[in-house]
Each structure stands twice: as C-alpha cells, then as structure tokens.
C-alpha cells in the first residue's frame, strides 16, 4: 500500500499543475477543478495509473489560477500529503494577489507553515504593507495571520503598526490588534512589556468586544506573573461581571438569552486567580458570585457552563460559608443530572472539592457507585480519580481493586501510566491491610503497568523491600511472601511478563531467596536461567538476571549452573552484559572475594562500612595539594546557597547534621545504598558493588519509607485539605456525615445489597478522618484572618467590634479597651478561674471590649492538651442586669461539644456580679498555623432599653498550640531521620555582644515557643516540640558568625515553615 501512496505523492505536483496546463480541459472542468482533482486522485490510486500524471509543470500562471491551485494544495495537505512545493507559491500569492487571492494566500501560509519555518520571513514585508493599507479587509487579514503565525524575530518590525491599530476607529480592527499583541506576548513577552498600559486602555474600551479580547491577555498575565500585580483590577473585573450579569450589554451579546456567557466564564476564571488565598480580594467578589449563581438558573447548556466556572471560582477563593453551601447544592445538581456531560462535570467538581468537604462525596455516594459501573470509560476514569482522593486506610483495598479492574480493561497508554502511578502510590501509602495484599497489588501493577509506567514505581518497591519496616519479623515475612509469589510466577509462562517486572523478580530472588527454607539456590538459578532462554527478553533484564545469579551462587551446585549460563555471555557484544557475566565467573572462582563483596544472607546488613571514607584520605590530600577546592558537607553548601537567597526546596539527600551522623548512619543503610555511595565516590575497585548500584538506582528516589513506616503519612490528603480553607463546622460535621449516610441509606433500601456494601466499604472512614477542620495555608496569611463578621441578631446594635490587629504575637495587645473600666476588676478576674486551670501557664487577662453595662475580657490558659480560652463577662453598670445571653460561635476552632451545647445561654446577673465562662477550645489543630477565630458575642437586655450587643473575636495566636516534646538525644536522632519535610534558614542574631549566642537564642526560643531543649553539643543545639495534636517538629540550630542556622524537620509538610516563621519572630523580638 505504501508504494501506492508514494506514487501519489510524486504524481501530485504534476497532477495539480497539469489541469492548468491543458486549456481545453481547464475550460471543460473549470467549474469543478477541485472536484476533478478529487476524482483524479481516486483514479490515480485505485487504478494505479502513474505515468500520465507526471506531466511537467507549465509556465507562469495568473494569481487566479494560483488561488485555485492553492485550495487544492490545502486539500492535499489536509489528506496528509506533503505539498511543500506550493509553500513558496502561497507566500507569493499573499504578496501579489488581489484581496481575494491574498486571503487564500494567507490562509494557505497559516496552514502550511509552522512558527519557525524559514519561508515566514518572506511574509513579513507583505504583512507590513497590508497593515498600512487603507482597505479594512486587508488590515484584518494581516492581523489575523499575525496572530496565527509570525516569526518571533520579526516582531519589532510590526509591533508599532499593530500598536497603532489599538486606536483604530473600527472595533473589529482594535479587537484583532489586541489579540495580535496577545500572541506577541505569548511568543516574546519581553518585547511587549512597554505596552501594558495599552492593555489597560483596551480593557476600558467602549466596545465590549475589545474588552473581551483584552481579558485573554489579563488571564494569561495573572496566571504567569504574580497575581498581586493585578489586584487593583479586581474591582474593575467585578464591575464588568456585575454589568454583564445584570444584562447591561446589548442584546447582540446574548446567547440563548444568556448575556455574553463566554465573557462571564473568562471573568470568573480571572476572579478565581485573583481571589486565591486572598481574603480581602475575595470579599469583593462574594456579591457578584452570589448573583451569578442566582442568575444561572435557566436550564440550558451554557448556563451550566457558567455555573461550573462559578463553582470553581467559589472553591478557589477565600471561602465564604453561604456561598459554599450554595455551591454544594449546585454540585448536587450536576452530579444528579441525567445528562452525561453534566454528570461528568459534577464528578470533576466533586473531585476538586472533596478534600475540603468529604461530606459531599458521602451525600452522593450512590451516584458515585453508579458512575463506577458506567458504560463510558471517561466517566469511570473520573470516578476513580474521585475515589483516589478520598482513599484512606480503611477503604484502600476496595478502591485499588476498582482501579485495577479498570486498568485491566483500559487500552489507553496515558490512562495506564497515570492510574498505575496512583495505584502504586496508594499501595505504598497504606500497605498494611496485609502483606499478601500488598505484594499481590504490586504484582498486578507490574504486570499491568508493564514497561510504560514510571520507573520510580519498581525502584520504590525494591527500596521498601530492602529497607523494611519496624519489625524484623514483618520484613522477613514480606520478603518471604515476595519470594514465594515470584517463584510461583516463574513456574508459569513468563513470556507475557513485562521487562520491568522480570527485573524486579530477579532482584528480589537474588537478594532474598535465602529466606525460604528448603529452597536450593541452584533451583532458583535454574529458574532464572530459563528466563534467559526467551528471545524477547532485553539485554537490560539479562543484566539483572545475571546479577541476581551472582548473588545466588554460594553453593557449588548453583555456581556450576550459573557459570554455565554466564559463559554464554562472556563473549557477548553488549558490554554491560559481558561485564556482568565475567564478574560472575570471577567471583565464582575467588571465594574470598565473593564472601567479601557479597556476604551471605542477613550478614549483609551488618556489613561494616567505613563511612568516613578514610581510605580516600590520601587521594583527597593529593587533590588538595594540587589546588582542588575543599569538600563542603551538603548542609553547609545548602546554607551558603540559602545565604545567597536561592531557595532550594529539595531536601538534600538524607544527610545529617554532623554531630548526629555517626550514631545512626550505618545501621539504616541498605547494602545497595552503600554500594551506591561507594561507587559514587569514584572508587570502582569492587566491580560487583558497582554492579549493585546498577541494579537499584536509589539516587533521586523519593524517600517514602523509613524506620517508622511510611513517612509522609496522609501528607497528600492533608496538604490538599490544607490548601483550601474550609468552613465546615467541626462539631456538627460528623453528625452531618452520619445523618447523610442514614438518609441516603433509607432511600435506597430497595437497592441491591451489593451496591450498599460497596458504598460502605468505599466511603468508610471518610467522616472521622477528616473531622478536624483545617483552615489556613500559610502563616503569613494569619494577619488576614482578622475578625470580621456580622452580628447574628438582626436588630441588635453592635456596640463594638474591635479588630484584632496582631495575632501571632503571643501576648501582644489584642484590643484596646474603649471605655474605662475599673482596673480593680481585672485583677479580680483571674481568681475566678476554675480550679483545674489555676496554676497553669496563662496570659494576662485582657479586656476585649465593653459596652455601657457589660464588659468582655478573656485570657488564654495553656493546658497540656488544649488551649483554654477563659472569657469573662462582667457587669460594669450600677444596676443589675436582668438577662444576658451569650452566643459563642467558632467556625474554625474545634469547640468541644460541651461548649457547643451551651453556646446560647441566659444568665441573670445581679449587681456587680461577675459571670465568667470558660470555653475550652481544645485546639485540635492539625497544623500550627491553623489559626482560628472564636467569636464571642453577648448582648444584654437592659430594662427594656433595647438590645445592645457586645461583640468580639478572639484569635489565639498560632504559637499557643506548641508544647515541649521531651526527648532524649537518641530518640531525637531517630526521629530526625524519619521526618521528611525540612526547612532551613539562617537568622540574623542581633545581639552580637552576647557571650553565648547559642544559649541565649535557645532560651529565647524555649520561652517564646515552648520548645524543649534536647541537647547542646558545642555550637549546635537541638530542640523538639509538638503541637497540641501531638505532631512533632524537631529543630537543629547552630550559630556561626552572628547567624543562627535553623533547620527544622517534621512529618507534616507545612509545619517547619510555619514554625520557622515563629522562630524568626521570637528571635527578632528578643
């Protein structure tokens, strides 16, 4: 068949041109030349008539004929035949033809050529000429072609002309000019920097079309540059959206009676970018978002499009509970819709929000189950994505099973790679339903994922096997299971197994088959040897197999077999393979060497390694003598980097502070890792070791497993949870979960049992796992969360709502009392604390606010496992107060149920009687920075004088949730290794005169942040602390030259960052 195509290709030019060279024929079929072309092509290929088509091209042709030919060439290109001979003619046509032919010329150019095609340079002049033309259509065409395809280097030539067009009287020209500039911005952002004002002008253009076009630019700018540069435009965007939504645009812009839907979507997208993590900006949009949600109620496709965009925006910006509620309802509309497209989008939206609000997934669990069995693989795929996000330790096996089922049916390579990665991630994250399950899942992954999956999946798996978990017994069992399952796999037909899987199998058998009692190494060698007989096996895999064999040939029997196999490869052309084979032979002959480099069995773990690499001392001193730069330990290098203000986010390997390295390095390294380091050090004296490093590439592999098991445990979910602020009311949350479960269940009683079982197994553990509510992402945002709320009671008069200005100071002034209260009262207040709280560390009692007759004070008491906020309500008037009701609400702090039950209470206050109220905010914060705001509102009824309300918010500073963590140095060392998230920074110590800077700094940190000083070793100090929730964070400090280098590590992603921020403050305030 291909030769037919080839013939067609060679004949095409002649064919195209021949029609014109025959005037008679041209007359005849001038009416439908294209038609005859189509026909000729058909005849050509079907009847295989080659020769007659190969007529020579005739002489010059008129532009009109050229145009015809060009359309034909376009058609040919469309069919996939290259018509490169016509490219130059296309450019010529654009240059010379009349308007009409020009258009075809330009069109052909933009279809044929690509951005960096040389011929494009020839077009520049034409474009220049047309841009200056008085004919509007010519200008339009030039602008169109510029925005479609233009050489980057020639932008300066046309830029001034295009800029001029921004002030053109015709809106269509202005609009196209804006888009042409957008294109320039895309391909060469630097060259259009000076015209950013003009973009603003375009945004304010009186024609909505031009404004719409300019939004493309702003969307891009905000996405690429810092959004903060464009915050000032938020107002404008909101106003525009308001007008659009309000129907202020001409009716022309309506589509299915929705005003300018595409414009609305664009604006919503921009607002989402602007309002992300910015409360102040977000507040500006709440109103218009609400309006959009409300308006988008007509049941048409396009309104759903707007609605979806709106949902995305609402969930991206700083949350507002009312909007979130409405949005949740809308998501329900999507998910429950019978229209498949809407359902798809609903699933997508759920995936997007489910981490913030797992409740939503629970509400729709039956729909989700149905989607799991949907006939459309795209829907299924999206559902799996959703399930992936809600996976926890309890439902992992069901979800993984579903994913694997899908994978077995899926043919698409991209889906396979993506999903296999996810399954592997889940399996490693929650490997403990049981070891058998883990091994089986990994086997399924390897056989399904085959050779397309990411290479770190097998690497991580092998690393996990090699390093093991906590208990030796468990490790042994896991390894044994792996060996067992692989042996049984090898017994079956291995031809279908992917190469990667075979590599894993051979490594595991080589390394751990000794664990299986009664298994002769010779047996294993024999089975591995069988693998090599298969021709389909790659050289790389052969290397792995040979390496495994060299580990196995301890007994003479095995050695004999292995040598027989290896002998074949000693003369192999592939060097790696040959090396492996020769090594095997050599090691077989030299038993001493063998036992040294490949010690038997478990002995390998006790392998002593000269970690200081003292045998290299001579080499180093030689190098230094020759003027080489001295070696700097990694953390020193990193410090220098951070001094240069270069942010390095990657943890540098697993290196330790020097003082700790000696005690704990050697026992945790796997043999392969050690061999790797020795081969890295440039000493390749031991060939087998080098081969070992060839087997398992550990460098750059993300460290997921440590002695304590999986390290960034639940980190993904938490991170995601923390990303978006949520406003779930924590106490009611669980209740709501169970309620929804109940209601769902009651409605589906008649549905079959299976589905329900599936649902309960899928959604198990969802509610409880996410019960703690997480709020803020970054410590810097703390100051944003100043108190802001509208009193809940409509007709109350707000006496005062003071704002908390500084939140993180610990004991900073919270609010200035505005009315004078007898100070005597204040000293009286602490004595009214309940007995359980007396004697605990507490902050000063501060008056938060006061009205005519009521005063509100509070203090914080640091209990061991909670932060107690003691709120004092005192009567400061002369008369008695009949009734006081007090409403305490907290959106972000978890208020224990006891408190929530008496959140609205009535009290009788007699004259001068103080009432105090203790709210125990057990700070179940998962993160230090989860700054919460408790709102306390009391209003009084005073002799029918009406209601007045006191209103105040109290925000416990983040540092309140820190508690010392008593540790020994050894424990510290162990923990340090297992924590994966670290942050380092140098802080300037201001007081140089101090003798012991370290001591002073540590003491300051200890006092301000409640840290525990574990040990001080020379110029280094180590400290530990934990959050109220029990999450640890370790600090390592050392001083040098007036700087304090702090290095924090924690299992929680953002904790080090946040704590660093507080350390910084503490040091500065000192």
């Amino acid at each position: 068949m291909s030769d037919v195509v080839e013939k067609t290709l060679t004949a095409l030019p002649g064919l195209l041109l021949s029609l014109d060279s025959q005037p008679g024929a041209a007359k005849l079929c001038a009416t439908s030349r294209l038609g005859s072309l189509v026909r000729s092509i058909t005849e050509l290929t079907s009847k295989n008539v080659g020769e007659e088509m190969a007529e020579p091209p005739a002489g010059p042709r008129s532009p009109k004929q050229m145009k015809e030919i060009m359309v034909r060439a376009i058609y040919c290109e469309m069919l996939g035949y290259e018509a490169s001979f016509s490219y130059i003619h296309a450019i010529k046509l654009a240059q010379q033809g009349s308007v009409l032919e020009k258009r075809v010329g330009y069109l052909a150019v933009s279809l044929f050529l690509h951005e960096s095609h040389d011929l494009l340079l020839l077009l520049v002049n034409t474009v220049l000429k047309d841009l200056q033309s008085t004919n509007l259509i010519e200008v339009c065409m030039a602008l169109t072609v510029v925005s479609q395809i233009f050489p980057k280097d020639m932008i300066p030539a046309v830029l001034p002309l295009v800029e001029d067009k921004l002030t053109h009287s015709k809106e269509i020209i202005r609009r196209k000019a804006v888009l042409a500039l957008y294109k320039f911005y895309l391909i060469a952002p630097n060259q259009v920097q000076h015209i950013h004002d003009k973009f603003r002008k375009a945004l304010c253009d009186k024609d909505p079309g031009v404004m719409t076009a300019s939004l493309h630019i702003y969307l891009k700018l905000i996405k690429v540059c810092l959004a903060s540069n464009y915050k000032d435009l938020t107002d404008s965007f909101v106003t525009i959206l308001k007008q659009v939504v309000g129907g202020k645009l001409p009716v022309d812009f309506n589509y299915h009676s929705v005003p300018a839907p595409w414009l609305q979507m664009q604006l919503l997208r921009i607002l989402a970018l602007l309002g992300k993590e910015d409360q102040r900006t977000s507040e500006m949009m709440y109103e218009v978002l609400d309006e959009s949600l409300r308006r988008a109620e007509i049941n048409h496709n396009i309104t759903y499009a707007i609605l979806y965009e709106c949902l995305k925006t609402i969930y991206t910006i700083h949350p507002k509970s009312e909007l979130l509620e409405k949005a949740a309802k809308c998501i329900g509309k999507f998910v429950l819709s019978p229209k498949i497209n809407l359902k798809y989008l609903g699933l997508k939206a759920l995936t997007y929000v489910v981490q913030q609000d797992p409740n939503l997934a629970l509400q729709h669990q039956m729909t989700i189950i149905e989607c799991l069995d949907h006939s459309d693989p795209i829907i299924k795929r999206e559902t799996l994505e959703l399930l992936y996000r809600i996976t926890n330790g309890q439902n992992v096996s069901v979800i993984v099973e579903k994913m694997l089922d899908f994978l077995r049916l899926s043919k698409d390579e991209y889906t396979t790679i993506d999903l296999v990665g996810k399954v592997a991630e889940l399996a490693e994250k929650y490997p403990f339903p049981c070891s058998v399950w883990f091994i089986q899942t990994m086997n399924a992954i390897f056989s399904i994922g085959g050779d397309v999956m990411q290479p770190d999946i097998p690497n991580n798996f092998l690393r996990l096997l090699a390093e093991g978990f906590d208990s030796d017994e468990e490790d042994r069992q896991l390894r044994l299971l792996a060996v067992d399952s692989y042996l049984s796999l090898l017994e079956c037909d291995t031809s279908g197994l992917p190469q990667r899987f075979l590599q894993v199998i051979s490594w595991v058998l080589g390394e751990f088959s000794f664990l299986k009692e009664g298994l002769e190494p010779a047996d294993v060698v024999e089975r591995l040897g069988k693998l090599l007989d298969d021709d389909a096996i790659t050289t790389e895999t052969r290397c792995w197999v040979l390496a495994a064999m060299s580990k196995l040939c301890g007994s003479s029997d095995a050695l004999c077999k292995a040598e027989k196999v290896a002998h074949k490869y000693t003369s192999c052309l592939d060097t790696a393979l040959r090396q492996q084979a020769v090594e095997l032979e050599l090691l077989g002959r030299d038993v001493d060497l063998r036992t040294r480099v490949l010690p038997q069995h478990g002995a390998r773990n006790q392998l002593e390694v000269d970690s200081s690499l003292s045998f290299l001392d001579g080499f180093v001193s030689d190098a230094l003598a020759r003027g080489a730069a001295p070696y700097k330990p990694p953390h020193q290098r990193q410090e220098e980097l951070s001094q240069e203000k270069i942010l390095n986010f990657e943890p540098y390997g697993l290196s330790l502070p020097v003082s700790l390295s000696a005690c704990s390095l050697t026992d945790r390294q796997s043999p392969t890792a050690l061999s790797l380091s020795s081969s890295l050090s440039g000493n390749s004296a031991d060939p087998p070791l080098k081969a070992g490093s060839n087997l398992l590439k550990l460098e750059g592999v993300k460290r997921v497993w440590g002695k304590q098991g999986y390290l960034p445990e639940k980190q993904a979910t938490e991170e995601a949870l923390a990303q978006e602020p949520s406003s779930i009311f924590a106490p009611s949350h669980q209740q709501a979960c169970s309620e929804s479960q109940q209601t769902t269940f009651s409605t589906i009683v008649e549905q079959d049992q299976e589905k329900r079982q599936l649902a309960s197994s899928l959604f198990v553990g969802l509610g409880s796992q996410n019960a703690p509510c997480l709020v803020r992402t970054v410590a810097q945002n703390l100051s944003d969360s100043t108190s802001e709320a509208v009193p809940a009671v409509g007709n109350t008069e707000v006496v005062e709502a003071s704002e908390v200005s500084s939140l993180s100071g610990g004991s900073g002034p919270l609010a200035q009392p505005s009315s004078q209260v007898e100070r005597g009262l204040e000293s009286d207040l602490p004595s009214r604390l309940p007995a359980t709280l007396v004697g605990l560390l507490r902050s000063d009692v501060e008056e938060l606010c006061s009205g005519e007759s009521l005063s509100l004070s509070a203090c914080k008491v640091f209990d061991a496992d909670a932060l107690v906020l003691a709120i004092f309500l005192s009567n400061i008037s002369d008369s008695s107060i009949q009734e006081v009701s007090c409403l305490i609400s907290s959106e972000q702090l978890k208020v224990p149920e006891m408190c929530s039950t008496f959140s609205v209470l009535s009290f009788y206050l007699n004259e001068f009687v103080l009432f105090s109220l203790f709210v125990c905010f057990s700070l179940c914060l998962n993160h230090l920075y989860s700054e919460g705001v408790a709102q306390c509102q009391g209003w009084e009824e005073h002799l029918n004088l009406g209601e007045a309300s006191l209103y105040h918010s109290v925000s416990p500073p983040a540092s309140c949730s820190c508690r010392p963590l008593p540790l020994t140095t050894e424990e510290y060392g162990k923990m340090w290794l297992s924590f994966s998230h670290d942050v380092k920074q140098n802080l300037m110590l201001l007081k140089h005169e101090e003798e012991d800077q370290l001591e002073a700094a540590l003491t300051a940190l200890k006092e301000k942040l409640c840290l525990h000083i574990v040990d001080v070793i020379g110029a280094e100090g180590i400290m530990a602390c934990q959050l109220v929730s029990g999450r640890p964070c370790l600090l390592h400090c050392h001083t040098h030259g007036g700087m304090l280098a702090i290095w924090l590590r924690s299992p929680i992603a953002d904790l080090p960052d946040c704590l660093l921020y507080h350390c910084q403050k503490a040091i500065q305030e000192r």
Partner: protein, 206 residues
C-alpha cells in the same frame, strides 16, 4: 486556546481538528514549534479520530488527553453531527460546556453561510470554512461568538468575491450543480491508499 485548525479526513468520516492550545504551555505546541512533521500531525489526527469515532452515542463529549495531545494538559471536546465530527482540542483550564456551545455556534454559522450546509460544502470550500473559523477563533483565542457578527464579517469578504466574480465565482455554482444533479461521475467510493472516503447521501445538518 485555539491555535491552528486543520481539517482532515479519515477513512469514511471527516474529522475536523481544531487544535486549541495555549502556545507556551502545551506539548502540542511544542511540536507545533518543532514542526510537527506531517506524519506527526496525521498521527494525532488519526489517533484522535480513532478515539472519537469508537465512542457511543450516549457518552459524554469530553475526552481526556492521550499522550499525543499532551497528556492531562489538554483535552478533547467533540460534537458529532451525522457523519461529521467536530473536535476541539483545548487546554485543561478551558470550560468544557463553553466549547461545546462554541462548536454549536460554529456549525450554525456554517449552516447559515452555506445555506443548509452539507459535507461536500466543507470539502469544496475548505478555504471558506477556515475563514469562518478564523473569525471565531483567532490565534488560539475565542474572538467572536456572536453568529450575526461572524456572518457579517464573512459576508463582507464574500461580497468582494462576488464583485470579482468571473471565473472565480464558478466553483460555488458548480458545487451546487453537482449537489443537485448527483452526477454519476462523483465517486461513491474514493480510495486513496488506505484512506477511503465514502461520500454519503449528502446529509444536511440539523
């Protein structure tokens, strides 16, 4: 979003790929810059067609990226009209439903411009179709979504065509003649190598 457009035909369907991509971001673009050899382009088209054509009627109109179109960065959104597939490839932040309606606008515009458009119109007036598309989507960005406005623009250009008329105007008439006559010499089955085009019984839209 929309970068280039290239109509093509695959087997017995015509598959219009409007390749929408954010120039700097997508891999698609990467090879748009590296030039996509013709092969690559054809491969994308073929794969896309393969993906789209085997989908049932009652499934959603969105497809998530294959490797060729840049993985998860891009997605395909298509609409199916009789024997024609209109496929847009957009970057992942684009609104799915919005594009679906954009396709609807495109098709309705075609219908108005060609007065009851049929498949043959699209073949014989490749250039016109492209021009209409260029009015809607310019340099990858949605320029105009108002059908009347698009038609006005296209008409302005068509008027010029008529004024230049002469022979140039003839093909249009010829096509309509062909349409009406249903001439026998119009092959029912066109075979080009392994690509065969079946011309169906001139289905019209709607």
């Amino acid at each position: 979003m929309v970068a280039g457009s290239r109509p093509t035909s695959c087997r017995n369907y015509r598959c219009w790929i409007e390749r929408l991509n954010h120039i700097t971001e997508s891999k698609t673009l990467k090879f748009a810059l590296e030039k996509t050899t013709e092969d690559m382009e054809q491969q994308i088209i073929r794969e896309t067609f393969h993906l789209v054509s085997k989908r049932d009627e009652n499934v959603c109109n969105f497809l998530e990226g294959g490797l060729l179109i840049g993985g998860s960065d891009n997605k395909l959104i298509y609409r199916h009209y009789a024997t024609l597939y209109f496929v847009f490839c957009v970057d992942s932040s684009e609104s799915e439903l919005g594009i679906l309606d954009l396709i609807q606008v495109f098709v309705e515009t075609l219908d108005k411009c060609f007065e009851n458009v049929c498949e043959l119109d699209l073949i014989f007036h490749v250039d016109k179709v492209h021009n209409i598309l260029a009015e809607m989507v310019m340099g990858g960005m949605v320029l105009e979504t108002n059908m009347n406005e698009i038609i006005t623009q296209v008409d302005a250009q068509n008027k010029m065509e008529k004024s230049e008329a002469g022979i140039a105007g003839a093909p249009a008439r010829a096509v309509s003649a062909v349409k009406n006559m249903n001439l026998p010499e119009i092959p029912r089955n066109i075979n080009i190598g392994d690509i065969s085009i079946k011309v169906p019984n001139l289905p019209s839209f709607k």
